[in-house]
């Protein structure tokens, strides 16, 4: 059996004194697409923030490549974060910088590559997500789907081992959503990237997810394969998948 990339054990988490997640135990295996799903307000995004090391847990541990994210010092945490890519819900591109500069940030901050090679890498990543023409554009000049693609290109800039995507298809039309799903799938197949999706888009889940974690009121109600989730007799899970 493969070693999990991410391991969360007895994780209690939330904001300040407000407990959102209760006793979460999960592991993410390499080269899989895992969908964390559930209805709005169930704690999906909070869980994502714990998994990427943005929000320290109240109790429990989150391990990435066997190392506890929240016991690591700043330098170590940044080294681990370089192996993660995160696609935020609204892209989170820096609006004051053109797309090319947005993509160049990770290379400028974490490598000593010469300028011309950074430029080559930026063009390469944009080409990979089908956005070569957006090189000089500002994020405000991009459509929602293009912004997501540009943010995805930035997320995979340093060839991460794992890619987290928070509601990647939110606000996108079905055609753009499908093409983004296919892009995520091809990244997984071609680059061996592990993908963790936080979503409640059933079509998208059925299209690309292999593993499903269902959250309900801050607790994991289901953790298994997509086919098992589709045939689950657990009522909220059943309701979720039959609601489309």
């Amino acid at each position: 059996m493969k070693e999990p990339l991410i391991n969360a054990t007895h994780l209690n988490g939330g904001y300040g004194q407000r407990l959102v997640l209760h006793d979460i135990n999960l592991h993410i295996l390499p080269n899989t697409i895992t969908a964390i799903l559930g209805t709005s307000g169930c704690g999906k995004t909070t869980l994502l923030k714990h998994l990427i090391g943005l929000l320290p847990p109240m109790e429990g541990t989150v391990r990435f490549l066997g190392e506890d994210l929240f016991q690591s010092d700043e330098k170590e945490l940044n080294r681990l974060r370089n192996k993660m890519g995160v696609l935020f819900q609204n892209g989170a591109l820096l609006n004051s910088l053109p797309v090319s500069e947005n993509l160049a940030i990770p290379f400028e901050q974490h490598t000593n590559l010469p300028r011309e090679m950074i430029e080559q890498l930026v063009r390469q990543k944009l080409h990979l997500v089908g956005l070569s023409s957006a090189y000089d554009l500002l994020p405000s000049q991009l459509s929602g789907g293009m912004r997501k693609r540009a943010a995805l290109a930035r997320a995979i800039a340093l060839d991460p081992l794992i890619l987290f995507a928070d509601e990647p298809n939110a606000g996108l039309d079905p055609v753009t959503a499908k093409s983004l799903d296919q892009l995520l799938l091809s990244l997984k197949v071609r680059l061996n990237i592990t993908v963790v999706l936080v979503t409640h888009e059933i079509i998208s889940i059925k299209r690309i997810a292999e593993h499903v974690i269902y959250l309900h009121e801050g607790r994991i109600l289901f953790d298994g394969s997509l086919s098992a989730a589709l045939n689950s007799t657990i009522e909220p899970v059943q309701n979720f998948f039959t609601s489309d």
């Binding site: 490598t111 590559l113 010469p114 090679m117 080559q120 390469q124 405000s140 060839d159």
Partner: protein
């Protein structure tokens, strides 16, 4: 024709491409046009996107220098990764010819004319809606003028009071040194009163309000513009100008003169403290001197200035707010522009009004 045989390392990844690229460049330093470079990938078994970018970059470099590049002994796996990430940069685009000096001058002039006409259109629109709203109750939002007045006026009281006090205090202190030499201590009161009422009071208050409330109005309108709230109002059949700008306009017209009165009084008080403590002038004579020197014209000057400055602050904030584009960065940019422009126009208007009132006696 020479041949250069270069052996690639076992891995070409983000961690070592910078050094490897520098070495490759070093190796072909002496190569001449038409020479052949053979890249031996025999040992290479670990390649990532940065490695492919480096190979692509090296390829472009060889093309530029007219060197023949041959890659050999590449394994199938390495070939697949290269194929996946390979991207040849487009040949440099032909740039449009740079416009001439006269073309640029024309473009600037045309743009300036555009800004001017847009500004005039906005000003006339706000004036129109301010008059219409005054008579049409339905166009007014209940309690909005009061709310805006409190926000613009009441909350600005402490800072404007403090600044006015310091200005009056410093004015008196600086002039006292000179006037004392001539035994004209009492004229400190005249100087502070006239300077505060006809010049410093209105100007300082307007600059403070432009920085404090003008920026907040510009940022509010700009945020509403970029988040499509203004579009939402329009599709609901609500014109954003009477709905958003007119209450702020009334509030500014109401509060700026009142704040200026306060600034004048506190500024004169600041001067009085110097007069009493440093120049040994009694409070009552100081007060009588202030009252005697202030004429009807000075009061009119500060009123006209305050009302003009209110309009300038509002128009500038509205103009720049409505011009916002993009996201947060666009909001920040127009807010800065609004503050800078309103302070500039306030000072310009102050100079023009100062000149006018120097030669002309108000008729009303």
């Amino acid at each position: 024709m020479s041949e250069y045989h270069l052996l690639l390392p076992e891995q070409l990844t983000l961690s070592n491409v910078a050094e490897e690229y520098a070495l490759l460049r070093q190796d072909i330093r002496k190569a001449r046009n038409g020479d052949t470079i053979i890249l031996d990938c025999g040992r290479l078994h670990l390649l990532d996107s940065a490695g492919v970018a480096m190979l692509d970059q090296f390829n472009s470099l060889c093309q530029q220098r007219e060197l023949r590049l041959i890659e050999e002994h590449c394994s199938a796996d390495i070939g697949k990764i290269k194929e996946l990430f390979h991207f040849s940069a487009p040949t440099s685009k032909k740039h449009a010819p740079r416009p001439s000096f006269f073309e640029r001058l024309g473009q600037r002039g045309y743009a300036l004319l555009g800004h001017l006409s847009e500004g005039l259109f906005l000003i006339s629109n706000i004036f129109y809606w301010a008059i219409v709203s005054f008579f049409n109750k339905r166009l007014r939002r209940q309690g909005e003028v009061i709310r805006q007045s409190l926000q613009i006026g009441l909350n600005a009281l402490p800072i404007i009071g403090l600044i006015a006090f310091l200005i009056g205090f410093i004015l008196a202190l600086q002039s006292a040194v000179q006037l004392r030499q001539f035994g004209a201590n009492i004229y400190v009161a005249d100087l502070v009163a006239v300077a505060m009422v006809s010049e410093m009071g209105p100007l300082i208050t307007a600059i403070m309000v432009a920085g404090r409330s003008g920026s907040s109005i510009a940022a509010e309108i700009a945020t509403m513009k970029v988040s499509e709230e203004l579009d939402a109002l329009q599709v609901m059949g609500i014109d954003p100008l009477p709905y958003l700008m007119v209450p702020k306009f009334y509030a500014l017209l109401l509060t700026l003169p009142l704040l200026t009165v306060l600034a004048n009084v506190i500024g004169i008080l600041g001067g009085m403290i110097i007069g009493v403590t440093y120049l040994n002038i009694e409070i009552i004579p100081f007060y009588h001197e202030v009252i005697s020197v202030l004429r009807y014209k000075d009061i009119m000057i500060f009123l006209v200035k305050s009302i003009t400055f209110s309009a300038i602050i509002l128009f500038t904030a509205a103009y720049f707010g409505l011009k916002a584009e993009g996201g947060a960065e666009g909001v920040g940019r127009v807010t800065t522009s609004a503050v800078v422009a309103s302070i500039f126009w306030v000072i310009v208007a102050d100079s023009i009004l100062g000149l006018i009132f120097y030669f002309v006696e108000p008729v009303f």
